[in-house]
């Protein structure tokens, strides 16, 4: 099997980065995964000066290894990036971060984080 539970995925699942609620967030959102009812909360602090930069970002919520690892990696990736860049993240970019094959059924898990980030930034 192409190992979906790779060491890096399990490591992010067990020791997620950027978990919790950052102080002074300027944007936040909560979204559900309709497949299982898991919910994800995202907090983002965007710089006041333009171009708008993601100064800090964090997440809360229970979920499967895939959704938690994807959001952990994604929040790492987006820190310091511009808001316009964050809005343009594609599903393929998320899959590339995960470095595993995502079945159609699990795509909702993998993309729950980016969906919530988009909704926070919109």
């Amino acid at each position: 099997m192409s190992d979906i539970y790779s060491e890096i995925i399990l490591d992010h699942y067990k020791h997620p980065h950027n978990r919790g609620h950052i102080k002074h967030d300027t944007h936040r959102a909560e979204e559900d995964n309709p497949l299982c009812g898991d919910s994800m909360k995202i907090y983002i602090k965007v710089s006041e000066k333009k171009p708008q930069i993601i100064e800090d970002i964090s997440f809360e919520g229970e979920g499967c290894a895939i959704s938690q690892a994807a959001t952990s990696m994604l929040t790492d990736f987006l820190k310091g990036k511009s808001v316009s860049q964050a809005k343009k993240i594609t599903p393929e970019q998320v899959y590339n971060l995960l470095k595993i094959e995502i079945s159609p059924a699990r795509s909702k898990c993998a993309l729950l984080g980016i969906k919530t980030i988009r909704s926070a930034l919109s």
Binding site: I4, Y5, L10, L35, C36, G37, S39, G63, C64, A65
Partner: protein, 410 residues
Amino acid sequence: MPRIDSKKIKKLFPIFSKKENKNLVYLDNAATTQRPKVVVDAIKDFYETYNSNIHRGIYDLSEKATKMYEDTRKHTAKFINAKLSEEIIFTKNTTESINLLAYTLSDNMLQKGDRIITTSLEHHANFVPWQTMAKKKGFILSIVPVTEDYSLDMEEFEKLIKEPNVKLVCISAMSNVTGTTPDLKKIIKRAHKVGALVLVDGAQSVAHEHIDVRKMDCDFFVFSSHKMFGPFGVGILYGKKQLLDKLPPFLYGGDMIKSVKETCTVFNDTPWKFEAGTPSIGDVVAFKKAMEFMEKLGIENIKNHETNLAKKTVEMLKKYKQVTIIKPKNLDKSGPVISFTIEEIHPHDIAEVFNKEGIAIRAGHHCNQPLMSRLGIPATARISFSIYNTEDDIKKVELALKKLFKIFAK
């Protein structure tokens, strides 16, 4: 009593002999069962030999098709021990059967301020229609909770049934999450005492238990063909004749009328007034074969076989401390559905690892989010059995569990 030989029975289901499914362990029977060859053949046979539209054809082919369709109605009545075959309405699925009742009862028999009682055990199909109607029409929706043992809280039910203006009780015969089987006879008797009607959702129970609507004395009973070895696309609504007669049609159009003038229409009698448009005739006809298949095996035999598997599975799962079983303790009185959670491992991850081992289980909220939120969990993993499952399947589940623990212990 002949015992179920699941290995022999498995051979009657073509899906298991396909090379694509060589190692398939199918444990998602609460979602849909597989179909035996007799049912698949009946669909083919209908289209190849009898294909025509029903009820209006003045030619042999249509008359034969009509007879086959109406024979299934008769057989369905017999299958659940309804008094009359006119008490059987064919719909698309259980959800449509419940919506038919939600719309027609709400418009005609219920008034603002009336109470509808439902329970925490309901599938969204027997919850969302009533919640929606309550909001739209000003009914009060009460929900009977479950106890710590995942049984229906009968003390709460007793409190709720005593409230004024309880007009309808909507209750599942078997939970699709926990397998809980409420004491329907008691509930129905109590509801009737206060003048309330009772709708029983039998979607989960019908493949595992003998159904006798007259003994139960429910007013309405709904279920689906596809959860009992029959084709998709066939739902059943049983209702007491005198009640169905009082209800107006749900959908309007062809086949549900006696006569149509430019200014008015006379609707057909029960049950045909509820069957607008061309039904899925071939599927209805093949559904008869599914009922015959179950009768031949013997519903008691089916139940014994499945209960035995459920007991063995619970026994096996109990060996692992990380596993929490979400099911009433008395396994003889609950359906062969086992929900469970595992500490620190999400149900999706359980299902994913199981899938890699060829085991199909379900993970999620099982279309019962209100129950999940009452239990304080987002989701469970669920194993549900049928007649073709074997003790070997349970061994495979245990191996998959061990693999799962190993992966997540990394």
